[in-house]
């Protein structure tokens, strides 16, 4: 994992990372993974994300969380108590030397710790990206969020699921990660503006608005309502079109879209169903006729149930049909094509040993995504970061004994 000759796109960028949990650390991971020097500042006891499942062999421990590993690859780590004057003095020495500071505390905590923009700006005029639940103004400013509440308020959940049932969340912490990625993009904008125009500035990302502002059924649904007065609702049933939706196969499930025209023809080709070739199957009226759907399913189901997911997926590719397998996490990990293309890499960690983690999310030809190190253990880089910040080596034992650093 140390075979690194290629340059990183963000070599030379220094980021002070004051974020916790999921969204903020994902934003700074995006920067670290492309070569930025990201110094993760943890409170005493560490980022609570160290307690996030899953753990290696299901045993909790500060360095055993897979989620924490994922979120913090390529970062350095220091433990610093920002509730103390001495701790803040160390922080401000660090910001003097940094391009960007990223925070993810509530507005009240930002002020209490002296990491709000007004407090940080005099110390090096860094760009500051602040992730908050709901921003710094407005009636919800101090409200709490979870993954589920974020997705609920974000505007997409209302239309996800069945009309007869409760609205549904996404898997895992997808909404937090999405909003975090938006903050990562904003951070890239702030770094660029700093390098091109020589300015520091304050960049605000509210997790709530980073859901509302997304195209996919959030801003589009809101604009659709403003235009038409109609609101997106959960559908009464899961199927879509004449042969469409999730079908069971011999060993799992597949997602099928086979509405009229080309995609219908390719689908029919894929399952080799001569009886479905008739042009009537591509008529819009047919698609809305429940009896026709039942008739088609009478052909589609038996075919599906006698083929494996791999067989269906191969047939779909051969026919260029809009059909894809329902992959589980096991599939994503074991899939030979993903592996062969480099989706997975391995960390070598003092506690975890060698473990697989996600590799590059995209292939940058000249400045590749690189795994340089696993997530930091608690305070792993405290000494070297303090030296970089210009602290006298003599001062460090006192800071340690007073609990300011660890």
């Amino acid at each position: 994992m140390t075979e690194q000759a290629a340059p990183g796109a963000l070599d030379g960028v220094t980021v002070i990372d004051l974020t916790n949990w999921v969204a903020g650390p994902y934003a700074t991971k995006m920067l670290a993974d492309l070569g930025a020097r990201v110094i993760k500042v943890e409170r005493r006891g560490g980022d609570p994300a160290r307690n996030l499942e899953p753990f290696l062999q299901d045993e909790p421990g500060p360095d055993r969380s897979a989620t924490f590993q994922f979120l913090n690859t390529n970062k350095e780590g220091i433990v610093l108590d920002l509730a103390t004057d001495a701790g803040r003095a160390v922080l401000y020495r660090m910001t003097e030397r940094a391009d960007l500071v990223v925070t993810s505390s509530s507005p009240a905590v930002e002020e209490a710790l002296g990491i709000d923009y007004a407090s940080l700006q005099p110390h090096g005029d860094p760009a500051v990206v602040s992730l908050t639940n709901f921003g710094h103004t407005g009636p919800y400013r101090d409200y709490r969020l979870s993954e589920t509440v974020l997705y609920a308020m974000g505007g997409e959940m209302f239309g996800h699921g069945l009309a007869s049932r409760e609205p549904l969340k996404l898997g895992g912490t997808a909404a937090l990660l999405q909003s975090g990625s938006m903050a990562g993009l904003a951070a890239m904008g702030a770094i660029t503006a700093r390098e091109v125009h020589g300015i520091g500035q304050f960049v605000e990302v509210s997790l709530f608005e980073a859901q509302i502002a997304s195209m996919d059924r959030r801003s589009s649904a809101i604009l659709g309502y403003r235009f038409s007065g109609r609101i997106v609702q959960r559908p009464p049933g899961a199927s879509s079109g004449i042969a469409g939706g999730v079908y069971p196969v011999e060993d799992g499930y597949v997602e099928v879209t086979a509405s009229g025209g080309n995609y219908w023809n390719r689908f029919v080709e894929m399952i080799g169903a001569e009886e479905l070739r008739d042009p009537k199957w591509s008529q819009p009226e047919t698609a809305r006729n429940p009896a026709a759907k039942e008739e088609a399913d009478g052909v589609v189901y038996p075919w599906m149930l006698t083929h494996t997911r791999a067989e269906v997926w191969k047939a779909a590719r051969d026919a260029h049909a809009l059909v894809a397998p329902y992959f589980t996490g096991m599939d994503v990990f074991n899939d030979e094509t993903f592996r062969g293309r480099g989706l997975w890499v391995e960390i070598d960690h003092p506690v975890l040993g060698r473990q697989p983690v996600f590799g590059r999310p995209y292939v940058l030809e000249k400045t590749p995504w690189q795994l340089r190190r696993p997530a930091p253990t608690l305070g792993q880089d405290t000494e070297s970061v303090l030296a970089w910040a210009g602290l006298d080596a003599d001062a460090v034992p006192t800071l340690r004994s007073e609990g300011v650093v660890a």
């Binding site: 796109a9 996030l52 899953p54 062999q57 989620t67 994922f70 979120l71 709490r144 979870s146 589920t148 609920a152 308020m153 505007g155 959940m157 209302f158 409760e166 609205p167 996404l170 890239m188 904008g189 503006a193 091109v196 125009h197 300015i199 500035q201 304050f202 990302v205 608005e209 195209m215 801003s219 589009s220 649904a221 604009l223 659709g224 309502y225 403003r226 235009f227 038409s228 007065g229 109609r230 609101i231 997106v232 559908p235 899961a238 997602e255 779909a316 590719r317 049909a321 894809a324 992959f327 589980t328 994503v332 030979e336 094509t337 293309r341 983690v357 995209y362 292939v363 030809e365 400045t367």
Partner: protein, 439 residues
């Protein structure tokens, strides 16, 4: 050097389509790039400007509102200029038309490439090659250009021939298996396109990283973003549980992977009104039970820890559902938050449009009417820069709206050339009738 825009002076020759691709270039345009969308009046790209080039009010009304909710439920003669799914991603962009399949059209595209810094594309695999615009040909015009490809399943490997929109990418990325009702099978899943958000943001991020490398070295590069591989990383808990522990995760409905119990979505008074509630700590659980008036069932000491609550999760959910059923959603939301419990309403599009917080937070940008849509509030970019003018600076680009600017000011065509290209049908402000008729 006005406005401190991060991507001032960067030009994007935009071949992106659908949502993922068009949101990549939208983010670049937000950041200040001059994004010129290349449009062909003789080709209809599915899911890029509207559900279809000809749409009666009756058909539009049958299409889900995020796509078919055209102004006053009447798409009018130019549905491609007012589908809510697609007109929004054209903010801050410019649109010009050219039939790139004809030699003189291809020459125009190449001239634009020579003047461009970034070329994002997610056309069907092989489309650009058929036009004679493979990477080498693009680079022959502009050696330091940054090319972004967004294939659904990768440009190499066994899945190259796979075809997919959002639902299929979601499916193969391991997303769909993790959502759905825990008591029903995946057959009951409806479609969602979680990957579009993710791919749009990551594509723009990767381009901006590559632009930085180019500023420092003069070197351009090609970026390949496989949508399925990128989107899979939105679900690290399930993938890493598989990789580290050999465990296969399935949907847990609305329960939490963050360790919160209870965590769910509950019906409140009225029609289709729901509230999400999470107890993120034992303190929040105590706050919730205090707020509920310390009901007897909740006072069991075993429930004071998350382990104890997890053992009784179904019972707790049933009690909370009963308790929520008669209450007003929004009163409960504010009261729970003030009591120290994490809660929030499940906002419909109407609720979001009426939301009191979004009304004052800068979430909306009011834009004037055009011939194709009325004046209304549009959703602002989610990031607020204190100095850089990153916001909706220009209204969404109507089809062919910037032909004059692109042909005259960018490409420097003469009046004669413009007349000739107009005569030949390259420069148009509508799709060709053959496209509209579906011929």
């Amino acid at each position: 050097m006005s406005q401190y825009l991060p991507l001032e002076g960067v030009r994007v020759c935009d071949f992106s389509n659908v949502w993922a691709g068009q949101s990549v270039s939208m983010y670049l345009a937000d950041m200040g790039a001059e994004c010129i969308k290349v449009e062909n009046p003789y080709i209809w790209n599915p899911m890029t400007r509207a559900a279809a080039p000809k749409l009666s009010p009756m058909v539009a009304a049958m299409i889900t509102p995020w796509m078919g909710g055209h102004p006053n439920n009447d798409p009018g003669p130019r549905p491609w200029n007012n589908s809510p799914a697609f007109i929004h991603v054209l903010r801050n962009k410019k649109s010009f038309t050219v039939d790139s399949r004809r030699p003189e059209g291809l020459a125009i595209v190449k001239a634009l490439i020579r003047l461009s810094d970034v070329l994002p594309e997610n056309l069907a695999l092989g489309t650009l090659e058929k036009l004679g615009l493979d990477d080498d040909a693009i680079r022959a015009e502009r050696p330091d250009i940054i090319i972004l490809h967004l294939p659904a399943f990768g440009k190499t490997g066994a899945y190259v021939e796979g075809r997919g929109y959002g639902a299929h990418i979601d499916s193969a990325a391991g997303s769909s298996i993790l959502r759905g009702y825990a008591d029903l099978g995946p057959e009951s899943n409806t479609q969602i396109f979680a990957g579009d958000y993710w791919v749009g943001v990551h594509g723009a991020f990767a381009v901006m990283a590559a632009l930085r490398h180019r500023r420092r070295t003069g070197e351009g590069q090609t970026i390949e973003l496989s949508q399925v591989e990128c989107s899979a990383q939105m679900f690290p808990q399930a993938a890493l549980d598989a990789a580290w522990n050999g465990r296969e995760q399935h949907s847990i409905g609305n329960r939490s992977v963050e360790g919160y119990v209870p965590n769910g979505v509950f019906a409140t008074r009225g029609d289709d009104r729901w509230i999400a509630i999470s107890c993120r700590s034992d303190d929040e659980w105590r706050a919730l039970t205090m707020f509920m008036g310390r009901p007897g069932w909740a006072m069991d000491d075993a429930l004071s820890t998350v382990t104890g609550r997890r053992a009784n999760e179904t019972m707790i959910e049933e009690r909370i559902a009963e308790w929520c059923a008669g209450q007003d959603r929004d009163e409960l939301f504010h009261a729970l938050q003030k009591a120290g419990v994490t809660a929030g309403p499940v906002l419909s599009a109407r609720d979001a449009a009426d939301d009191q917080h979004l009304a004052v937070s800068g979430a909306w940008t009011h834009l004037p009417a055009t011939d194709d849509y009325p004046e209304t509030d549009w959703v602002s970019p989610a990031y607020r820069f204190s100095k850089s003018d990153v916001r909706i600076r220009t209204s969404p680009a109507l089809f062919g709206q910037h032909n004059d600017y692109v042909y005259r000011d960018v490409l420097g065509c003469s009046e004669d050339e413009i007349a000739r290209l107009t005569e030949a049908g390259h420069i148009r402000d509508t799709f060709d009738q053959s496209v509209i008729d579906g011929a």
